[in-house]
Amino acid sequence: MGKEIIKIEGLKREFTMGTETVHALKGISFSIREGEFVTIMGSSGSGKSTMLNILGCLDQPTSGSYEIDGVKVKDLSRNELATIRNEKIGFIFQSYNLLARTSAIENVELPLLYNSKVSTEERRERAIKALELVGLSERMDHTPSQLSGGQQQRVAIARSLVNNPVMILADEATGNLDTKTSYEIMSLFQDLNKKGITITFVTHEPDIATFSSRTIVLKDGHIIQDYQNKKVQSAANELAKLPKEDQTL
């Protein structure tokens, strides 16, 4: 097992809604090691989204500690959080969140634009490499409207990889895709994971969890289950098992 990338201890998050205080997370502790493929499961209201926001350094915990790649996140300023997001985390969203009317390669370059250490040439080079990694080297100049949902999500994955993050954070990344395409995307995630990339996948779909190596289940702000998946399914195999599209339609 690799070193700990995420270390969470006694994490609490409270929101004040008028006079009421909502306890979204009620003291959570876990850690994620390098090379893991973790799914965080939970129904709506379980604190899953809050967990994701904190993991993604978009939000700060009320109490408890959160360390990512050795950096204590608590008490960092807005700008420092932005830098951590830029250098350590790759985001993938349910609705892809690609810039419209902007080519795939430029979309992938976006995180590097906010990193002044990366030169223009290096930026382009790394974007091309990331797109090759997700199998879109043929469609670099296509805009999102010229790409299918699956292809758009691949662009988003390439974008999350381009800054060489310590962890990819996916938020319902297959939520907008049909079964076949989501298996394709999961298969891509598994391939990336095999190359050593740490992935944290937040979802409410139980079958997605079967593709990961570890599952954390949240309920009402607590972890109710945290288990290693003994029998990881191969998304590529599941994909092959699916009935041919022309037969189903």
Binding site: D59, R78, N79, A82, R85, N97, T102, L110, Y114, N115
Partner: protein
């Protein structure tokens, strides 16, 4: 984040929204162009008045008699006799802010050459006159100091006189003419000057030594006026007060007595005539400024909509590492690019419109550099100001809220 990257991002956003950008710019373009064109028209009319007056000698100073009371009767201006030759000599000797000065007497009469005659005005002056009035000689020469001293019967004539008394095109220089039956030898012809702004024919003149005109034609020993030129245009007001002082001393006026003369510089005349056109300019500029302001509000409106419409994009940019300052700069640069480009296009359009007005409407125009600088500066400032507020709003967005924004 490097500025170059921000510029690229802002530039992309503008190019991606060509139509929207163009419409926004239109306000600025029209605003800037109209300010420039309006100011050019205003400046043009001012300039044309100024140049007419300047052609009469812009640093010229005129001294006229002011008050002459004889036996309790206030005299009519033309009958005033308070301005004397010794006043002229005093001024010539003491006023060091003047380069040239001449006494002036004039009278109307008939110019006769053989069977041709023409009513004109004779001006009795000294040899400095042409230099003060900025009149050139077409041929011949000016009379000399010596000829003034002996009251020589020599004269120079203007083009209108030449045309009327020498109609067959012979060279007037060396010919004899008569003015009110006094014979004069023509020793020079003046260059054509045309009409002045006030419709007066500047070529309908006969110029002779003041001594001759005083003695032979008018039989007077006072002066109509003294005209002089100040060392420079901006020294003219000082020269006016200097001359006043000399004359007060000369006329032995006590502290509480009013001047019995008037000293005027051309500058006063210019400002009188300019004030009307200045009013017009202010009015035009006020109207144009309103359109510039509306252009600015247009930018604010568009940037506002743009921030709303791109909330999700802002959320994404923040999620992948964009800082608040980066987002602020992006939108601000976008606003600046729009207003600066609009400003440049506005300047071009304004200059084009000015050329059009000059060419086809034949209005005098003059594009002052300050009008370009001011309108451009105003448009840049409105762009920045109206772009800043929405940009700040964008920068202050919470990345989570922005990402979830639908």
């Amino acid at each position: 984040m490097r500025l170059l990257n921000l510029l690229k991002i802002a530039f992309k956003a503008i190019v991606l929204n060509k139509m929207r950008t163009l419409l926004t710019m239109l306000g600025i373009i029209i605003g800037v162009a109209s300010v420039i064109a309006m100011l050019a028209i205003g400046e043009g009319s001012k300039e044309s008045i100024r140049s007419t007056i300047s052609s009469m000698g812009s640093n010229m100073i005129t001294v006229r008699p002011g008050a002459d009371v004889r036996g309790g009767v206030k005299q009519e201006r033309s009958a005033m006799e308070t301005l004397k030759l010794k006043d002229y000599f005093a001024i010539k000797e003491q006023a060091d802010l003047l380069t040239y000065a001449t006494p002036l007497v004039n009278g109307g009469g008939q110019v006769i050459n053989g069977s041709n005659n023409w009513p004109s005005t004779i001006y009795g002056v000294n040899s400095d006159y042409l230099k003060i009035k900025l009149v050139d000689l077409q041929s011949g020469s000016m009379f000399t100091e010596a000829e003034v001293n002996v009251a020589a019967k020599v004269a120079l004539i203007g083009q209108t006189v030449v045309e009327n008394v020498f109609p067959d095109g012979q060279d007037p220089v060396g010919q004899m003419i008569r003015f009110n039956n006094i014979p004069f030898k023509v020793i020079g012809v003046l260059e054509e000057k045309g009409e002045n702004t006030f419709g007066q024919d500047q070529d309908d003149v006969v110029i002779a030594p003041y001594t001759t005109v005083q003695k032979r034609i008018l039989a007077i020993n006072h002066l109509e006026s003294i005209i002089a030129s100040a060392v420079s245009e901006d020294k003219a007001p000082d020269a006016v007060s200097q001359v006043s002082e000399i004359l007060r001393k000369q006329h032995k006026l006590t502290e509480d007595e009013e001047d019995d003369f008037h000293v005027r510089s051309m500058e006063e005349l210019i400002s009188t005539f300019s004030s009307t056109s200045e009013m017009l300019t202010i009015l035009l500029v006020a109207v144009a400024s309103i359109s510039l302001l509306i252009g600015g509000i247009g930018i604010m409106n568009i940037m506002y909509v743009s921030v709303k419409e791109r909330t999700k994009e802002i959320g994404l940019r923040m999620a992948v590492g964009g800082k608040g300052a980066d987002i602020l700069m992006q939108f601000l640069i976008e606003a600046i690019l729009i207003s600066v480009t609009g400003g440049v296009l506005g300047v071009i359009l304004g200059l084009g419109a000015t050329v059009f007005i000059e060419k086809f409407l034949h209005w005098p125009t003059h594009v002052a550099l300050y009008s370009i600088v001011i309108s451009f500066a105003v448009c840049a400032v409105t762009g920045i100001f109206f772009g800043w507020y929405p940009a700040r709003k964008a920068a202050a967005l919470d990345p989570i809220t922005a990402l979830r924004y639908e």
